[in-house]
């Protein structure tokens, strides 16, 4: 705790490759001769490098080499401080999970946060300061900046500090210090992918910028208006776990939530909705107002804020349905369900929608008494100030006008992520001093003359206060790998140099602790501050008391204004929706190979983005998958490939932000769509009257899955609750084949897994966790295109039904650890065999790479190393490897092992403690990471274990059971809860 444990000098030596200069001894010569004589045995004969063991000189007390340590920390992305638990081996962070003591995350975290291990060890990180093109020392760099800033101050000029959202109170204090030292400093916080319309709506309606916490877990009826709350909106981790909790009834009569999703693009949320309504984004606001009116008119729900019924007179459900080509009956049942679930309903409005839609949604929520139940305002804080694209356009104008004598970019990349980056970049050259504090080289650092490398967050201290009830702490897991400094320390150094305050605190950890002692440490606590601090660092999060807020009273004029603005509005032309990508976010993850190669949950495209076009529009434009189109919105145009997306609302197109970064791992793949973000209009991410025309070229998309139909096989069945009730009554059909060894006997355990597809939303967090845990290589787009992606677990997606609004089923596929495994008998060298505890083992050192097993596996889960993917890894990415798992060489088959290293370790720990393995104690990486808790692992020999009980579920089934493979994984059928067509009151 608090301590940074790491190897002493020289301790990493054995990891370095052996010296090439070693003279060839006679012995070595002979061994080489033998190797060439026996070609087939070369790999076995090659002698490994001589090995040294380098113990500590002074051993840190609580580090045991070979045993992992876990430290709580916090990772900030946008406005969300993810509470994480980082696993470290011998001082090296190697795996990130959620902090299980964090009340919001409960041991889960986002797939992007998990992949951050790769950014720590990225070869592209900056390793020392740079002045112009020349490497420089920190002293020179600091002197250059301080001198320039002094001149700026002397001339009375302004300076600009551009940061991401500042949700750290101590970072705020640091910025205030700099502002005090440099009065002309203007601080602008810029989050290019965050929509600010919800805040604008709250300001208009309630007069505050409070963004409440969405309690998806408490909602019985959810309406998502272009709101991908299971994907990219807000705290999706908390939403997924909350959503999943109400989606796994044990019997047909158990309550299950109902999700209506009204959206243009097919989102992760839409694909999991009970009712999905494809509709233009411009229809969201009128629809929400019409819902409010219908609730009032048809169900007697009173209007809040003293709203006059006349205001909503122009909105009628049937009218909206007709205008936006939506089924009126569906909307009626939506309103009916909302009315029936008063106080337990939630209307969510997407960040791309204009403020009017947010006002309308807030009105419906207020009518249904969501505030205080599904909308938690007590914990909300006034959102950190953020610049809108319009504000950024102002900044760009000021830069061009020469207002600023200096610009400082603090871990932000506006040269890529800004609506008019081109204009900004041109203007930027005129600023005398351009400083970038950055982790890696990016578009902005290339345009700066002072580039200062900062610590990775796993090397940094910080605190976060994004919600009133929680204060999160970030602690370093490892000392700076390179000659980098924490950004706060750099800025504090400047501030003290500018004011010539020599005694000012420049060590950020002490600065942080002093601030905590002054402002956080509660007076009268029996514990000393040191004890208090140590406990807080250990937990990674500190709970604080909050008083519930009185219900807010909205301003009627805000509703009237919004209603007036959208009344009578009709959709004009093609509408374009832009959203941050699930993996790339605003482009900051472009150089993380794990995320580039993670297929999109719905289209299975990786290593790039595309324009999603509805099948009917694609026909009209005359394009197919991979054909390029030019999208023109206003004066801006972008050319990118098309993907024909079933479920995309006709008349709308969708594109994901965050691609098309220059250089690095991403290699410029994908297309930058930030130029299409507008700094005018009602929402920056929503464009109307967009033209989409054929560009004539083609740019094939790389897809990890190319067949999206189950062809009628029961691979991923979906039942409605009514079907569940019917099927639960019938005895389960035994579809397994007769077998030659019916009574297999197991050892002490028989490991098995249960996957609840009703909980699984298909996000892909399990894939990243698996990749990190099992040293799975990234193979690159060309290899993915040849079907050689290496993921041991994959999320499959299947479309069924009409192309304009298909039913989507997500499924997880990994090695089924079959009892009668088809792979085993075909292996000529017994490299894949069955273990006593029911595992289908893959023995890398036996495998000779004939690939018969892969050919014989009906689940297509075996992966072959066509190349030596790991020896080409750029230093120091090999430090991210899990030392408990073999790094596989070329020519070897591999597949999911149920994280056998965790099983063996768990069993050993239980044995050492003289007890049986506890149920749930051993969790594979995927199960540990799944925010929806859809994956349960355990011992099938214990009839009371969770996995045994779930395996007996009346919605349990095995995939391709009729092949007689007898898998160890039981899936439970995905359930949907659509309203009864007959019009009877929905079961909610």
């Amino acid at each position: 705790m608090g301590e940074v444990h790491e190897f002493r000098q020289g301790a990493l030596d054995p990891i370095e490759p052996p010296s090439e200069a070693e003279p060839v001894s006679r012995r070595r010569f002979l061994s080489l001769m033998a190797a060439s004589a026996a070609l087939a045995a070369t790999s076995a004969c090659e002698s490994p490098p001589a090995d040294t063991i380098v113990p500590y000189t002074k051993k840190p007390t609580d580090v045991i080499p070979g045993v992992a340590d876990y430290y709580a920390s916090t990772y900030q992305e946008g406005l969300i401080p993810y509470g994480v638990l980082v696993k470290a081996r011998e001082g090296r962070p190697i795996h990130i999970d959620g902090n299980d003591e964090h009340p919001r995350f409960r041991g889960k975290t986002s797939l992007r946060a998990q992949a951050e291990i790769m950014s720590l060890y990225s070869a592209e990180r900056l390793r020392q300061p740079r002045l112009g093109d020349q490497p420089a020392s920190w002293k020179e760099a600091d002197a250059r900046v301080v001198d320039a800033l002094k001149q700026v101050a002397a001339r009375g000029e302004a300076a600009l500090l551009l940061t991401p959202a500042v949700i750290s109170p101590t970072r705020r204090a640091v910025i205030a210090d700099l502002q005090e030292a440099l009065p002309g400093l203007k601080h602008v916080a810029w989050e290019p992918a965050l929509g600010l319309t919800e805040r604008a709506a709250a300001e208009a309606l309630y007069g505050d910028a409070l963004v409440p916490r969405h309690r998806v877990d408490k909602a019985k009826v959810l309406v998502a208006l272009e709101a991908d709350f299971l994907g990219t909106m807000g705290n999706a981790v908390e939403a997924m776990s909350g959503f999943a909790r109400n989606r796994k009834p044990a019997k047909p009569t158990d309550p299950m939530s109902r999700l209506y999703c009204v959206e243009s693009r097919l989102s992760l949320t839409g694909s999991n909705a009970d009712v999905r309504v494809p509709m233009r984004p411009s229809g969201a606001a009128p629809l929400a107002f019409a819902v409010a009116r219908a609730l009032h008119d048809d169900h007697g729900v009173t209007y809040p804020f003293g709203l006059s019924p006349r205001v909503l007179h122009p909105f009628h459900l049937d009218d909206v349905a007709r205008r936006y080509n939506v089924d009126a009956g569906t909307l009626t049942s939506l309103v009916r369900d909302l009315a029936a679930a008063e106080g337990e309903s939630l209307v969510l409005c997407g960040p791309a929608l204009p403020a009017e839609a947010h006002v309308a949604a807030a009105l419906v929520n207020a009518m249904l008494g969501a505030e205080g139940s599904t909308l938690e305002t007590g914990v909300a804080v006034d959102g950190a100030p953020l610049a809108s694209p319009a504000d950024m356009a102002g900044v760009a104008r000021d830069v061009a006008a020469g207002v600023y004598g200096a610009v400082i970019f603090w871990e932000t990349n506006p040269s890529y992520a800004m609506p008019d980056a081109e204009g900004f970049n041109k203007a930027l050259g005129r600023v005398p001093l351009r400083v970038s504090l950055a982790l890696a080289e990016d578009e902005t650092t290339r345009r700066c003359d002072v580039v200062l490398p900062v610590n990775h967050w796993l090397e940094s201290w910080n605190d976060y206060d994004a919600s009133a009830d929680l204060l999160s702490l970030q602690q370093p897991l490892i000392r700076s790998l390179y000659d980098t400094r924490q950004a706060e320390e750099i800025v504090l150094g400047w501030a003290s140099a500018l004011t010539s305050a020599t005694e000012a605190e420049k060590d950020y950890r002490s600065y942080l602790m002093q601030r905590w002692e002054r402002e956080v440490y509660p007076a009268g606590t029996p514990a000393t501050f040191q004890q208090f601090w140590t406990a807080a660092v250990h937990d990674g999060v500190l709970g604080r008391d909050v008083r519930p807020r009185p219900p807010r009273n909205g301003r009627v004029e805000a509703v009237a204004d919004a209603a007036r603005a959208v009344a009578g509005e009709t959709a004009a032309g093609m509408e374009l929706l832009l959203e941050p990508d699930l993996k790339m976010w605003d482009g900051r993850y472009a150089n993380i190979g794990w995320l580039q190669e993670l297929p999109d949950p719905l289209t299975k495209v990786c290593w790039g983005n595309y324009l999603a076009v509805s099948p009917s529009d694609a026909k009209e434009i005359g394009v197919a998958d991979g054909d390029t189109v030019t999208v023109a919105a206003g004066s801006r145009r972008v050319t990118l490939p098309v993907l024909v997306q079933p479920g995309q609302a006709p008349g709308t197109v969708f594109g994901a932000l965050g691609y098309g970064r220059e250089g690095g791992v991403s290699g410029g793949r994908g297309t930058n769509l930030f130029p299409l973000v507008t700094d005018g209009g009602r929402s920056p991410f929503l464009r109307s009257s967009v033209s989409v025309v054929r560009a004539g070229g083609s740019q094939p998309l790389v897809r990890a899955q190319t067949e999206f139909s189950t062809h009628g096989r029961d691979i991923a069945p979906v039942w409605s609750l009514a079907e569940y009730a019917r099927n639960a009554k019938e005895p389960k059909k035994d579809r397994s084949l007769p077998t030659l060894n019916p009574n297999l006997e197991w050892g002490d355990h028989k490991w098995g897994m249960a996957i609840d597809l009703s909980a699984c939303v298909g996000c892909g967090a399990c894939q990243v966790a698996c990749q990190s845990e099992n040293n799975i290589p990234v193979v690159g787009p060309e290899e993915v295109d040849r079907g050689r992606i290496m993921h041991w677990i994959r999320t499959d997606v299947y479309y069924d039904g009409p192309a304009d609004n298909p039913r989507v089923a997500h499924s997880l596929m990994l090695c089924q650890q079959c009892d009668d495994a088809p792979c085993e008998p075909v292996c000529p060298v017994a490299a894949t065999v069955h273990s006593e505890d029911g595992l289908n083992e893959q023995v890398y050192n036996r495998c000779i790479g004939v690939r018969y097993c892969a050919a014989n596996c009906p689940y297509m889960v075996r992966r072959f190393n066509f190349f030596d993917y790991t020896s080409t890894l750029t230093d120091p990415l090999d430090l991210a490897f899990n030392p408990e798992v073999t790094v596989r060489p070329r020519g070897v088959m591999e597949k999911c092992t149920f994280c056998v290293q965790r099983i063996r370790n768990g069993v050993q720990i239980a044995k050492d403690e003289g007890r049986a393995v506890r149920d749930g104690e051993i969790r594979p990486a995927c199960a540990m990471a799944c925010p929806a808790e859809a994956i349960v692992f355990g011992d099938l020999k214990d009839p009371d274990s969770r996995v045994s009980r779930l395996s007996r579920s009346n919605r349990g089934y095995k995939v391709l059971e009729d092949l007689g493979t007898r898998p160890a994984i039981t899936y439970t059928v995905e359930l949907r809860n659509p309203p009864e067509a007959s019009g009877e009151k929905g079961r909610v």
Binding site: R27, I53, T57, Y844, V887, D912
Partner: protein, 189 residues
């Protein structure tokens, strides 16, 4: 004999036997010394197990503290030496000053030569063996008599499996363990 028959019945079999014999002989003689029993590399300091574990009867796990709780038994930190040498024998001797005290002062680690070398795909776990009651000497030999640590065990899979299939003679008599795991993933993962 038809030349073709001679080729088939004499030259081919002889050739196969010759190639196989060459492979076996060359492979065996070219095997790195560190795989052989009796491998005793020179260590960075003249540390003697005979003096410590033998004459002074320091228990193995006083220094190799993690043998019962980690995969690695771990070689002690330089500082651990000073637990004793600060107070007792030879604290001022030249050897200790040079080998230990000087290193501690400049924070220079000791680089020990590995004596028991396992390939990367083998995951040996000390704790399961130590906690099952296997004596250190079973695999590491009578280190109490070794001035220079010498390898006494042939680390081939057969050696491991022989014990895993019938461990009783290496276990305490009261041990309930009748066999060790022989699943592949017990060691290879």
């Amino acid at each position: 004999m038809h030349p073709r028959d001679r080729f088939l019945y004499i030259v081919v079999p002889l050739g196969v036997v010759a190639v196989l014999t060459t492979m076996l002989v060359v492979g065996r003689t070219a095997e790195p010394a560190r795989y052989a029993v009796g491998y005793a590399p020179e260590q960075p300091i003249p540390f003697s197990h005979r003096v410590h574990a033998g004459a002074n009867r320091v228990p193995c796990q006083y220094c190799h503290t993690n043998a019962d709780r980690s995969r690695s038994a771990t070689i002690p930190a330089v500082q651990t030496c000073m637990n004793c040498h600060r107070y007792i024998s030879m604290a001022d001797s030249d050897v200790i000053q040079k080998a230990v005290v000087a290193r501690l002062q400049i924070d220079a680690p000791l680089k020990w030569e590995r004596v028991y070398h396992l390939p990367d795909h083998v995951f040996f776990d000390h704790r399961s063996h130590v906690n099952a009651g296997v004596q250190c000497a079973t695999c590491h030999g009578d280190v109490k008599r070794m001035d220079v640590l010498t390898r006494v065990m042939d680390l081939r899979m057969g050696t491991c499996l022989a014990c895993h299939r019938g461990p009783s003679r290496y276990l305490p008599p009261e041990s309930p363990i009748k066999k060790g795991p022989t699943d592949c993933t017990a060691c290879h993962r």
